[in-house]
């Protein structure tokens, strides 16, 4: 299990590069080897056919009885160590050889059959000689003609050609790898686009992925879009289901509760209360959206204004003064209902506990937001503050919803990877709640 987790993801680009480089190199090497072999063979064959012609000339001018050549041959056979040599060996052991051999000798077999043979050998001065030899009979005398040519320069030219080929091939491989890398990177950049869009969806800035992608990627994008749709529908359905169930349960529970209250049945009453709390909690949690699917965007001026109006009416008897200070862009990347829930609960708590004054401060740019709500109520003792943020805890049983409200606030804050602090308000003396949320994800 852990070994599978530790495995690094395979890079498509690297494996493609390895494959392409290997194949290219192997192919080029094989081609070069074939080329080298063909070059060498054709050089030798070319030399051999000339040697054969020269041998014919020697044969026609050879006087076997006199053991000498009648008339002249090409001057190259007289020029010392010219690289062109011949040796005629007679069956009595005597030999005739070209002047070009000078005082060197060329080792050839004593007798050769009527079938021509050839081989490579090292001649005078380290020359690379190709030797052609055939046995003849003329005027009743058996002899063999061996004729040799230095193919060193030819072979060297071929090797030079092969080396140029090797270097050019290596350069070609490197170039092709670079080109391939560039092509792959360019192709994968289209994926970056898709990834950016997926991130935008997660942050709620977008609904779906564009279809403006290469044909190979399109099916994936279409599948992703359908998955998104299915997920949204599922989310809406399950949220509705929980919501409907919770709503449907509330009224019967109300009846149980008021009946138990009338009859003075404490056990039923407390159980019904607990059920109420559970329902409220789950209903509220089910309603939370998070960044993933922003429905309507939160607009600080409009929405906080509406909330403050609502608070003033709901807590109208108190003669509450709610001072607001808002410094924020027109719209923020937050789900309206989530953030209304967060600020509504905090404001409601502040209004419940305040003597007469509540301050609301909302400061945001596109990176983060900071919401501060403080009241001039009794505040909360230090050691109770943490417990209040925990799920469903109530500091004061007589004021329903207080603890639950803060627990939901805490859940929303965590959903948005933010932080919440409860502290004493320096300005008003009561509780001050500070919520900070990052905005760009």
């Amino acid at each position: 299990m852990s070994s599978a987790d530790e495995r690094r993801p395979v890079s498509l680009e690297a494996s493609l590069r390895r494959l392409v480089a290997g194949l290219l190199l192997a192919t080029l090497l094989v081609l070069l080897a074939i080329g080298a072999w063909i070059g060498r063979e054709s050089a030798i064959q070319f030399a051999l056919s000339r040697l054969h012609h020269d041998a014919e000339a020697i044969l026609s001018k050879l006087d076997p009885q006199a053991r000498r050549i009648q008339g002249s041959l090409t001057p190259i056979y007289r020029q010392p160590l010219s690289g062109h040599y011949f040796v005629v060996r007679f069956d009595d052991g005597s030999r005739l050889q070209s002047r070009s051999l000078w005082d060197e000798t060329l080792q050839v077999p004593m007798v050769a059959g009527p079938k021509p043979k050839y081989w490579l050998t090292t001649g005078p001065g380290g020359q690379r000689l190709v030797v052609w030899q055939q046995g003849f009979e003329k005027n009743g005398v058996h002899f063999s003609i061996a004729i040799a040519e230095d193919v060193g320069p030819l072979l060297a030219a071929i090797w030079r050609f092969i080396w140029i080929g090797v270097i050019a091939s290596l350069a070609a491989v490197v170039l092709m790898l670079l080109a391939q890398q560039w092509l792959i990177r360019r192709a994968f950049r289209r994926f970056d686009l898709v990834r950016d869009q997926v991130r935008a969806i997660r942050q709620g800035r977008r609904e779906r992925i564009d279809h403006d992608v290469p044909a190979e990627v399109l099916p994936l994008v279409e599948e992703l879009n359908q998955l998104l749709n299915a997920w949204r529908q599922h989310q809406a359905r399950s949220r509705n289901a929980v919501g409907n169930l919770a709503h449907a349960l509330k009224t019967p529970l109300q009846l149980v509760l008021s009946h138990a209250q009338r009859e003075g049945c404490a056990a039923v009453q407390s159980q019904a209360r607990e059920m109420q709390q559970l329902i409220e909690r789950e209903l509220k949690r089910a309603r939370l959206t998070g960044r993933a699917a922003v429905g309507q965007h939160f607009s600080p001026e409009r929405d906080l204004g509406a909330l403050v109006d609502t608070m003033s009416r709901l807590h109208g008897q108190k003669g509450l003064t709610i001072r607001t200070h808002i410094e924020a862009p027109e719209r923020l990347q937050l789900d309206q209902s989530d953030f209304m829930e967060l600020s509504g609960n905090l404001l409601d708590n502040a209004a419940k506990w305040a003597e007469s004054r509540v301050n609301l401060e909302f400061v945001a740019d596109h990176q983060k937001l900071c919401l501060t709500i403080e009241d001039d109520g009794p505040g909360i003792e230090v050691h109770h503050r943490q417990a209040l943020l925990e799920r469903g805890n109530r500091a004061d049983e007589n004021r329903p919803g207080h603890g639950l409200g803060l627990a939901i606030v805490n859940e929303i804050v965590h959903l948005y990877q933010g932080r919440i602090r409860l502290e004493e308000s320096p300005a008003l003396g009561g509780l001050r709640v500070v919520v900070e949320l990052p905005l760009a994800g």
Partner: protein, 219 residues
């Protein structure tokens, strides 16, 4: 005080209706949106308790149409929908208060009383006219000089309406409309009987008769 209870859950209507009547309200019930709309348009209510999830026509729509038609009775929304978005929407549509289910009956009653007092420009916690204090919990009237007098349900409703509208001439028809439920047999003689009983309990001079106009509460 006449109250319109708009709620489609029959058992809740029964138990809540009984509580409301015990607390001195003449309660009419509408079980769907259409009926609620109609009653609110045609009858004179002092208060409405409005559920949002209603058959035929949603509660918010009913409220919006009442307000559009200039019906300005205080409305308390009583609903299971408890998100702040919904609360804000409810108050925007013209509700005066918003209470979520499940609720404590005492809290509902306290809020209804507060709405009534606010409505009649009396934001104080108790209903007082001169030396007369109405104890809405116990349904009795207290005098500053000492002494408490118990009231029957109808007497309580009648006196509360008088005390919320002191110094104004109130016709018998108006009193009947605000003291009795819709299907009550409206015999104006009954009002005379109850006014007489009230006068006996709190003093004749406090309720003045005006020919052709009805009564004026002096306190």
């Amino acid at each position: 005080m006449r109250l319109l209870l708009v709620e489609d859950h029959r058992e809740l209507v029964e138990s809540l209706g009984a509580e409301l009547r015990r607390s001195g309200y003449a309660v009419d019930v509408a079980e769907d949106g259409e009926q609620a709309l109609h009653l609110g348009m045609t009858e004179e209510y002092d208060l409405a308790v409005l559920d949002l999830g209603l058959p035929m026509l949603g509660g918010l729509e009913v409220l919006t149409r009442w307000r559009a038609a200039g019906r300005d009775l205080p409305v308390l929304i009583l609903t299971a929908r408890d998100s702040w978005m919904e609360k804000v929407e409810g108050l925007k549509a013209g509700a005066d208060d918003y209470l979520t289910k499940p609720f404590h009956t005492e809290e509902l009653l306290a809020r209804l009383q507060a709405l009534l007092r606010r409505r009649h420009g009396r934001p104080q916690r108790e209903l007082r006219v001169n030396d007369l204090v109405l104890d809405e919990e116990q349904q009795q009237v207290r005098f500053d000089r000492g002494g408490v007098v118990g009231l029957t349900g109808t007497e309580f409703r009648l006196l509360r309406y008088f005390m919320l509208n002191p110094g104004k001439p109130l016709s018998k028809t108006r009193l009947i409309e605000h003291v009795y439920e819709q299907d009550f047999d409206r015999d104006s003689n009954l009002i005379e009987v109850y006014v007489r009983r009230l006068r006996e309990k709190i003093g004749r001079e406090r309720i003045e008769t005006r020919r052709g106009q009805g009564y004026v509460f002096r306190g």
